[in-house]
Every structure is written in structure tokens, then in C-alpha cells.
Amino acid sequence: MSLLRMGLELDGSSRGRQVRDIVHGLRSVAGARGALLVAPDGFVIAAEAPPSVALDPLAALAATLGRDLEVGAARLGRGAFQTAVFSADDGALFLSTTRIGFVVLLAEPQANIATIRAALEEAVTLIDSGWAPSATAT
């Protein structure tokens, strides 16, 4: 195995673990039913969701929605999109933008919005600092 390959694998796997940890942390927040990190191209980077949820279609929708919100906010000229909450009869879907994609959190109807928002903010900060351009391997 070349040094380059070994280095990239180590770096890739530690980053992979890091995103899984972040998603796991979000999933553990009280009232959370599931959490995903989805790349802007719709690829699921990490997920912990109920088995009844088909991840790929949900990820395709979440990434398209996220990009739509980013582009729409830019078009409106009211600053960059940050977070959205969509409430439904049986729960809510939170969506936050990060450097590497969108954090999606599925919540129970009784979930505390402030607690979930705080957890999302923390996750976004972790991702944005961990994946800052200067922090990437070269």
C-alpha cells in the first residue's frame, strides 16, 4: 500500500468516523427520531434513521430542498440560508446547511425546538470547523 493511499485511507476513515459521531450525537438528542448528513449532490454521507424510512429518496429530496433554499435566499438578497424547520402532523424536519452538505434531523411532535436548534448549531459548527479548507489533507 502506498503512503499516499494509506494516508488518504486513514484520513478518510477518521473523517468518516467523525461524521458518524456527529450524526449519532444528533440522533441522541431528546425528541430526535433520526438524523442524516446529506451531500449537496444527494449522497448520504451518514445516517441514523428508523428502518421504515427509505434513505435515498429522502436524501434526494432533502438535498434538492437545501439547494433550493440556498439559491432562493441568495436570489432574495437576504443573506445566506442557514436553517429551516418544517412541521407536520406527526413531527418535524429540521434542515441546516454546512460546508459539506445538509444536516437533516427528524423530530417527534413533542420535541423541544430550542434544544434541537442548539444541537444542530453545534453540529454545524463542528462540521464547518472540521472541514474548513485549511483542515483538509493535501
Binding site: A39, P40, D41, F43, T64, F81, F86, A88, D90, L93
Partner: protein, 268 residues
């Protein structure tokens, strides 16, 4: 001793130079960990070795899309589709880019193409379902009495089909399509997540938050300065919702009353 050492210390076999497939494999691993820039560099190196690799160009497209660079991503997806016109992932990628740039018809058409080639393609089906627009209302009402709350930055009311019922200031109507798409994508995502029917939403951006409410027949959104509490924003949108419902009821009642009853025909 020297025999034992030579057994342990075998000469290292000459290193095989990495192939294009090696670069793509490593790039995909990095992509899966959100390491897009480094992955893109490896894809570039792989494509130098094998410039006609569909895998390489598809990876390049994904990585451009992941880094939110639309035109290079579109170019790479199109490159793949010239070689393989029914490549499902390239079609899906191209459809998503069309949606991103507001080309709804182009997005729908590309999703239909993907589903014609691969009827069992859950991502394409989910997106197409989300983009279905209800038939336009026969005579859309205007909400002329709806007033923007003090301190609000904008107000927009849409019919379920996206018809603008009220917009204040007027240029807010320009984002009607975006709001309609946001609502339908969010509704589809909630359904797919098993969370039921969309009722309300809050979208925070740098300088403003917009609060909306929807019931499928009416979408009502109000933009308020960033920092407005959720409770306050939702109160405002609920108040406007009640006013809009009242006005729609009055308008519909007047329209019904204006219909002159046709006298019953007498029999022969």
C-alpha cells in the same frame, strides 16, 4: 542467523504505479467522508490516465455538485449522457441541477427520461412526485385586503397551484415559484420521513426569517427580520392566515350570490 533474517526481511516488491481505477476508488472514499477537494484532485489524476472513463466523469460531476459548482457539474453529467444516454445517475444529477436553476420543465423532463429507462428508481420518483403541480384554479381569487404586518419585510400568499393571491411589496411575487417549490419539496420530504402532512415552516437566512403556513390550497408566507422569535413569527402568520381565510370565504360567497339562478324549464 542470516538465513533467518533473509526469511523475515524479504525485499519489497516494486511498487505498481497507481491506475486510474485506484485514483477513482480513493476519490470515492474521500467523497464519502465529505473530503471533496482532495477527492476532486484524485479524480483529475485518474482522468489524466483514462480520459474517457465514465466512472471518472461521473465522480467529477458528483464532486462539482457537492461543492455547489453547477456549470462544471452539468458539463460532466452531459459528458456521461453523450456516451450513455440513459445513465440513471447522470440523468438524476442533471435533473437536480435543472431544478436548482429554476428550470422546472427541464427537471421534470429529465426525471421522466430516467424513469422511462429505470421505472424502479426511487430518488427520481420521489423528486417527480414532489414537483407535481395541482391544476390551476378556475378563477383564482385576489386577497386585496391582506396587509403586511408592521416591521415585516414581505408578504406572499399563493394558491395551491402557485397563483399569486397577494404580494407585498410587489417584487416579492418574483419568488413565488421558489416558495411553491420549497413547500412541495418539504411536504414530500415529510411524507417520505413518515411525519405526515406539512403545516408550517420557518426558514432562517442571514438577515431575515420567513414563516409560512400551508394547507395544500393556500400557502401564506411572511418575511420578518432575523431574530424574530418563532412564537412571534408563527403568531403573525396565524393571524394573517385567519384574515386570508375570512377574505376567501367572503369572496367566494359573493361570487356564489352573483350567479343568477336559471329558472326551471316547464315541461311540455
Amino acid at each position: 542467523m542470516s538465513v533467518a533474517l533473509s526469511r523475515l526481511w524479504r525485499p519489497v516488491p516494486p511498487r505498481r504505479p497507481p491506475t486510474a481505477a485506484d485514483f477513482f476508488w480513493q476519490a470515492d472514499r474521500l467523497r464519502r467522508a465529505g473530503h471533496y477537494t482532495d477527492a476532486a484532485q484524485l479524480v483529475k489524476r485518474g482522468l489524466r490516465l483514462d480520459p474517457t472513463s465514465i466512472t471518472g466523469h461521473l465522480l467529477a460531476a458528483y464532486l462539482h455538485a457537492a461543492r455547489r459548482t453547477v456549470e462544471p457539474a452539468r458539463h460532466e453529467f452531459q459528458w456521461v449522457l453523450v456516451r450513455d444516454p440513459s445513465h440513471p445517475r447522470a440523468l438524476l444529477g442533471l435533473a437536480r441541477l435543472a431544478l436548482e436553476t429554476g428550470d422546472l420543465d427541464g427537471g421534470r423532463e429529465t426525471l421522466h427520461r430516467a424513469l422511462r429507462a429505470f421505472p424502479d428508481f426511487p430518488e427520481a420518483r420521489a423528486l417527480l412526485d414532489a414537483l407535481e403541480t395541482p391544476a390551476p384554479a378556475a378563477a383564482p381569487a385576489r386577497l386585496d385586503r391582506l396587509r403586511m404586518p408592521g416591521g415585516a419585510l414581505g408578504l406572499l400568499a399563493l394558491g395551491g397551484d402557485g397563483t399569486v393571491l397577494a404580494a407585498s411589496p410587489d417584487d416579492v411575487a418574483d419568488v413565488a415559484g421558489t416558495l411553491c417549490r420549497t413547500v412541495s419539496l418539504a411536504a414530500a420530504a415529510l411524507r417520505r420521513a413518515g411525519l405526515g402532512t406539512l403545516r408550517r415552516g420557518v426558514v432562517d437566512s442571514g438577515a431575515a426569517s420567513h414563516f409560512f403556513r400551508s394547507d395544500g390550497g393556500l400557502i401564506l408566507a411572511v418575511w420578518l427580520p432575523r431574530g424574530t422569535s418563532n412564537t412571534q413569527g408563527l403568531l403573525e402568520v396565524n393571524r394573517l392566515w385567519a384574515a386570508a381565510q375570512h377574505e376567501l370565504t367572503v369572496t367566494n360567497d359573493r361570487a356564489a350570490a352573483a350567479v343568477v339562478p336559471v329558472p326551471a324549464r316547464r315541461g311540455p
